[in-house]
Amino acid sequence: GAGVSQSPRYKVAKRGQDVALRCDPISGHVSLFWYQQALGQGPEFLTYFQNEAQLDKSGLPSDRFFAERPEGSVSTLKIQRTQQEDSAVYLCASSVASGRAFEQYFGPGTRLTVT
């Protein structure tokens, strides 16, 4: 498909486990964003990549969160030692350029539940 895809769609982790969430952006899109959406809230910015460079990680809530995009396409968001407060939908979005506020195309999200 031509859209942004994310896997897995659902993940249940026991408290303390590490998880890895994958995002496949639209081919050729320079910009990639990760968001966290808690229940009843809007998406909240986590981090931003321009190609392989992580230019902004100011939204990552703790050093347990780590994101990478080594080849400027696929990105992985890793959460170490998951906590219950990490339960949320994690959304990935990509856009065609890094400049003006081009519309972001969102993936379907990964729903993470920490038990």
Binding site: Y48, L55, F106
Partner: protein, 116 residues
């Protein structure tokens, strides 16, 4: 501190009538505003946007109005259709000096239900 607020969590409208969704913001640095629509189990999809230098943008049945002095924007859907039933998020963007990108701040969403 919620910089973008959608004070109505839900709204019900009869098919064919107008739907008006509201959004308020506090940061005068925001220079671009967007509306997204979200269906269950899907990511948000872009609907319509407006630059801060304009006060209205129209696209088919969807019109966004911006009142900068009141720091308020609204989305009008006319006529409303059952397929419009979804959660609508407004978002505002700005470019912090410390970031390499425009950042987007989202509201908490309004669930619209269009009744047939």
């Amino acid at each position: 501190d919620q910089q973008v607020k959608q004070n109505s969590p839900s709204l019900s409208v009869q098919e064919g009538r107008i739907s008006i969704l509201n959004c308020d913001y506090t940061n005068s640095m925001f220079d671009y505003f967007l509306w997204y629509k979200k269906y269950p189990a899907e990511g948000p999809t872009f609907l319509i946007s407006i630059s801060s230098i304009k006060d209205k943008n129209e696209d088919g049945r969807f019109t966004v109005f911006l009142n900068k002095s009141a720091k308020h924007l609204s989305l009008h859907i006319v006529p409303s259709q059952p397929g419009d039933s979804a959660v609508y998020f407004c978002a505002a963007s700005f470019h912090p000096l410390t970031s390499g990108t425009y950042k987007y701040i989202f509201g908490t969403g309004t669930r619209l239900k269009v009744l047939a």
